[in-house]
């Protein structure tokens, strides 16, 4: 039998890396088990001439399409939004757009302000120092001073506006609407061993330059130097408990597929809003017959995705196409509740610079705007390099029927039951999406765009996996307490997006990592009585 470790972290992605790095200063024996392996940037798509085609195969954002041994399948047939993620050291930060807004202070008090959902048990101020610390560790770029966003202090200047940004900015100015250069985790100058962005363009499926921040190149090197042990290709099947109802360790399959048991004094789950409930539900026992930490019955419930309402069109001027990071500007014009719009809460907007030629051809053919036959070439030249996009990240409110359960049939390559998603877009979200599409159309038309197309929701747009082990002070209405410890198991913590109470209308990774650092800090402050 292996010696017990002090802290066992499951998952080496955004939150697992942050919590590992933060706890490393305690000098405890910290072990992280990650089902994927280390990435090799020399193999990233942008290094090859087939860079776009690979996004439809082994570099798809969908684990079901990728089907790598490190991935687990997800039954999302009963959801209009499909789960996307990445499984490796760095997790989904390997494959994300690096857009870096934070939740707003008002997002933590939605019940008080708008009478819907629940307030968080913590507020924005509690996370402020951890947002700052995380921005420094991840290396952010941006322009401080956005009047409609929380104040940030990015250590690097904003990305270039480029051709696309200038077109958007002029259109937004004509309409009198808010826009601002996005905070991103794309390095705009050499930073902490990372090379500056050289506009490879194909950022989402990993950055060969290393300019896009992912935790395999930010937090993990620091955490490992500080003594954290990271074991790759180790897939955890279940968390075990002892006769006192405390977590005793985990059963996992090692890189050779051999079942192992790793005892631990503290277990931290960092597996995202789908992987975490899957693991808890797979950890049921006589003592915990409905799954671990699930006395509330809320493990897996309240799944929030952020439905994306996307609209795009084609302008006469050239846009940045694939020659820049995909996002450049954001807008918070419609972020806060205005009931005259017909819905509660709101959405953030990220403007999209363009697309590469293969993507443009494939998607436009599917949309029916790129013909077959003799006229194909003329139309393609009108479309290619002229796309401009508007994507609204709509706040998804928690609803218990939107949930992650275990699929009775589907299993991963180790025979572990796979997650099943049941999700519908609410009427409030639909109205919000329609409002966003109408505003997006106004922006595009002001920019002179034609051939306008809509994806609402973006089908493979389930990047943000939130809410399935929510935070709260009431054990009957939440899974973890206000500092991330599960109500039911006093040495079991959750630090990923599943603990979100509400989703806000922004990309969540910045807030996920700030929460992970906050929880690590709480643990460090309470080491003497962590289990009381």
């Amino acid at each position: 039998m292996k010696d017990p470790v002090d802290v066992l972290i499951i998952g080496a992605g955004a939150s697992g890396a942050a919590v590992a790095w933060s706890l490393a200063e305690t000098k405890m024996h910290i072990l992280c088990l990650e089902q994927g392996g280390w990435m090799n940037p020399a193999e990233y798509p942008s290094t090859g001439r087939d860079w776009e085609a690979r996004f439809f195969g082994e570099w798809s954002s969908s684990p079901n399409i990728r089907g790598r041994p490190e991935d687990y399948p997800v039954n999302d047939d009963n959801s209009p939004i499909k789960v996307v993620n990445y499984n490796a050291v760095g997790g989904s930060t390997v494959m994300y757009t690096a857009h870096w807004p934070r939740l707003h202070p008002s997002d933590f008090k939605v019940k008080t302000l708008d009478g819907v959902a629940d307030d968080w048990p913590i507020d924005y101020d509690a996370l402020t120092p951890f947002f700052e610390e995380n921005d420094r560790m991840m290396g952010t770029s941006g322009l401080s001073g956005d009047p409609l966003s929380p104040l940030t202090h990015p250590p690097m200047p904003q990305q270039p506006m480029g051709l696309s940004g200038a077109i958007v900015a002029k259109a937004m100015n004509k309409l009198g609407w808010h826009w601002w250069p996005s905070d991103t985790t794309v390095a705009t100058m050499d930073y902490e061993g990372r090379a500056r962005c050289i506009n490879l363009g194909h950022c989402t499926p990993a950055c060969a330059q290393g300019a896009k921040s992912s935790t395999d190149i930010t937090y993990w090197p620091h955490a490992i130097r500080a003594g954290v042990e990271l074991r790759t290709h180790c897939r955890v099947r279940e968390i075990t408990t002892d006769e006192n109802g405390m977590a005793s360790g985990v059963v996992y399959y090692d890189k050779d597929g051999v079942e192992q048991f790793q005892p631990a004094h503290v277990v931290i789950i960092a597996c995202n809003g789908v992987g975490t409930p899957r693991l808890l539900l797979n950890s049921k026992s006589d003592r915990f017959p409905n799954g671990l930490a699930n006395s509330s019955g809320l493990v897996g419930k309240n799944l929030m995705f952020h439905p994306y309402a996307q609209i795009y069109g084609y302008v006469k001027e050239p846009t940045d196409s694939n020659r820049a990071p995909p996002t450049c500007l954001w807008s918070k014009q419609w972020y806060d509740t205005d009931l005259s719009r017909g819905f509660v809460r709101g959405y953030g907007v990220q403007f999209v610079r363009g697309a590469g030629p293969v993507f443009e051809a494939v998607v436009s053919e599917q949309k029916g705007i790129l013909p077959w036959g003799a006229d194909h070439h003329r139309v393609f030249r009108k479309l290619n390099g002229h796309r401009l996009g508007f994507s609204a990240i709509c706040e998804d409110l928690p609803e218990e029927h939107n949930q992650v359960t275990l699929d009775p049939v589907l299993k991963d390559s180790h025979g572990i039951p796979a997650p099943k998603i049941d999700y519908t877009i609410s009427e409030n979200s639909r109205r919000m999406m329609d409002h966003a599409l109408a505003r997006g159309r106004e922006v595009l038309e002001m920019a002179g765009a034609t051939d306008i197309c809509v994806n609402s929701p973006i089908p493979w747009g389930g990047w943000h996996l939130l809410g399935t082990a929510r935070m709260g002070t009431d054990p009957k209405r939440s899974v973890v307490n206000e500092w991330g410890r599960t109500h039911d198991v006093k040495n079991l913590f959750i630090v990923d997006g599943s603990i979100f109470v509400t989703s806000g209308g922004v990309n969540p990774t910045s807030t996920i990592q700030a929460l992970a650092l906050y929880i690590a800090d709480q643990m460090k402050q309470r080491l003497a009585n962590l289990f009381d």
Partner: protein, 149 residues
């Protein structure tokens, strides 16, 4: 299919025919069609995980055509292609995507589009910084962040 990763001769013939219907050669733009031998060879060499779906699409196409697609007259061929595009489902979409992803990385096609014949890395691209005075009206309007109690 004769093997897991190969198409039959008949399937390859139909693939070439339908590819030319999707993207024909153009003298005006000085580009080959997607039935060009080099582009077809690229498709066959890189089918990989798409082989099964493409083969299914080609089988469906063969059923619609009732024989080799190339042997139909132009009117019949167009009718089959329209039906295939409209109701071919995921398999047809995969076939079309395979055709387009190989076509739009061919050197002659990229040259015609004015694009460089290279991978993005390591050269990257140059992006204009832009005129940040465009932000002045936004700054002048200001605004306040919604307060949280």
């Amino acid at each position: 299919m004769t093997a897991d990763n190969q198409l039959t001769r008949a399937q390859r013939d139909d693939l070439r025919t339908i590819a030319a219907m999707i993207v024909p050669a153009s003298d005006e733009y000085k580009v080959p069609g997607a039935d060009d031998a080099a582009i077809q060879a690229d498709m066959l060499a890189t089918l990989g995980r798409d082989t099964r779906m493409v083969a299914a699409a080609l089988d469906h196409l063969a059923r619609l055509a009732g024989g080799p697609l190339a042997e139909l007259d132009a009117t019949q061929r167009d009718a089959v292609a329209q039906e295939f595009r409209k109701n071919g489902g995921a398999a047809a979409a995969t076939l079309v995507r395979v055709v387009l992803q190989c076509y739009y990385r061919d050197d002659r096609v990229l040259r015609s589009l004015g694009l460089e014949l290279r991978a993005p890395f390591p050269k990257g691209h140059v992006l204009p910084d832009g005129d940040w005075s465009l932000l002045d009206p936004v700054k002048a309007r200001g605004g306040t962040l919604r307060r949280a109690p």
